[in-house]
């Protein structure tokens, strides 16, 4: 049974990014995990955004969310400056260096779900303090599927809180280095097995331009990255992946192994668009026909014939 367009909620950062890559430089552009997630997922399902911005947050960015029917009922606007991040990527995109991080109003962020959102069925907890991620779950009723992201900073500094969170989520998304750090296992299948033993029934290990691996009750699934010759800005690719992924689950109203595999591809599709321009700019000129076309390109990318041997 499908319940098309189930409710999807995201909690996470919204920020102003200053980014430099080989393709150019942009100052104070829209960034933050929840921004990428919500706009990416909006192509597939209605999405509810919980976050905080300062009084300096430009109306144009709010307008972008609204243009994508992102429900801003959980977006607080408080006195002070918006979260800011600044970084520069190596010319080959192999590394990035953070030049500056200003938490600003994000420092005191305590996520508050509007009462009506407590019944949200699909929930994504973007990379924030696991204490706050847990606080969201306290307010969230009984979602059908909860996924979370995390990072090395929390794995190292808030492990007990992170472990408490992992007991309560259906899926963890993280990159390969984080998976190794969290599990103490260098081998990725071994790392995924160790992480699943901590609670999540599914683990997605993101590997940048090497694609993503899903480990779940349906076995292992390998999603390739789309080969893109002109990468402009990789910022937010992982959150766009999560947006495409969760957007598909919410759209289908289902988290069966088959649906999760397809969600991996939709995640990869949205991530592949995200890196083609700075900030969320590629999403401004994206439509469903382009998403459909790239989904087909992914199918072609991995297609091979069955054989008699």
């Amino acid at each position: 049974m499908k319940a098309a367009g189930s409710s999807l909620l995201v909690v996470g950062s919204i920020g102003l990014d200053t980014v430099e890559t080989r393709a150019g430089k942009r100052a104070d552009v829209l960034g933050g995990a929840a921004s990428y997630f919500s706009v990416a997922s909006s192509f597939l399902a209605p999405v509810r955004l919980v976050g905080v911005v300062g009084t300096d947050f430009p109306d144009a960015h709010t307008a972008l969310f609204k243009n994508h029917q992102v429900d801003l009922g959980g977006l607080e606007r408080v006195p002070g400056r918006t979260f800011r991040w600044s970084g520069v990527y190596a010319p080959d995109f192999s590394t990035r260096t953070t030049l500056d991080t200003q938490l600003n109003v994000f420092q005191e962020f305590r996520p508050k779900l509007p009462a009506a959102w407590a019944s949200s069925e699909y929930v994504f907890l973007a990379n924030i303090d696991p204490t706050l991620q847990l606080a969201v779950l306290e307010q969230a009723g009984k979602p059908r599927f909860v996924a979370c992201d995390t990072m090395n900073f929390w794995i190292e500094g808030k492990r007990p809180e992170l472990l408490a969170l992992l007991e309560r989520v259906d899926m963890l998304l993280l990159n390969d280095e984080e998976a190794r750090q969290l599990s103490g296992q260098a081998n990725l299948p071994a790392a995924a097995r160790a992480i699943r033993a901590l609670g999540p029934r599914a683990v997605v290990i993101k590997r940048g331009d090497a694609g993503a691996l899903l480990f779940h009750e349906g076995g292992v699934f390998a999603a390739p990255a789309f080969p893109i010759e002109e990468v402009v800005d990789p910022t937010g690719a992982g959150d766009s992946f999560a947006g495409g992924f969760m957007g598909w689950l919410a759209r289908e109203g289902d988290s069966s192994p088959a649906t999760i595999r397809t969600a991996m591809i939709l995640g990869s599709v949205l991530a592949s668009f995200s890196v083609e321009d700075f900030s969320l700019d590629r999403f401004r000129r994206l439509d469903l026909s382009q998403i459909r076309e790239r989904f087909s390109a992914f199918a072609d990318l991995v297609h091979f014939e069955k054989i008699k041997l």
Copy 2:
């Protein structure tokens, strides 16, 4: 039209390896690109081996080739010691350190094709001096498909010879760092495009546990690596890949885009077995039913449903 079991020829190193990994240590075991290639490909097609060993080369290793119906009509046995390589892998397999290389009889290796082998239809030039790779082509008549491997040492030290070779081959296999070095392009699709402009109509970029990418007239194809929890020894994985790949082309007697995609998977299958034990030991207990089973596992690894969107 298929010509089942077309003739397949490989030229390359045969050596005695001393290898240490987290799984243990082995001394003077069978190694060398042509060894891995020929035994891997032997599961799919009859293979002809051109190489050199010294008088110290154990009969047991010769017997392994014979057990796999590898035609040793081009294997020279000359006075002196066999090529030796010794190395140690980091516990997480992220790097390997060469401890010792002794060229020995390989130093004076001048490949000589038996006259009857000049008509070989599928030819693999494993990683040796491009001058020697060219010398093989001089003796090789008009093969239907020639693939070659190379390495950083030749890209840096014998670029003119390598470029002359690339004008005459159908396919180049190399790893991601080598592709970047050869092309001067950090981005892999851009690197592949630049390399194809040098001659090869197909380029395969091997990325270890991130799989392999094929760029050819049929577009781009991404082959995943099989997630293996207990890697024992990655030595020879790339040559086993090449063996499975070329073995499939020779078996099918065809190098159409569709056949090449399937060959990418057979290559990945043989590589995935190769790393499960030291040296060529996994191949000693491998059979066609296991290859068939893992091929199906690869199909499952990347399978996702088409969608309506």
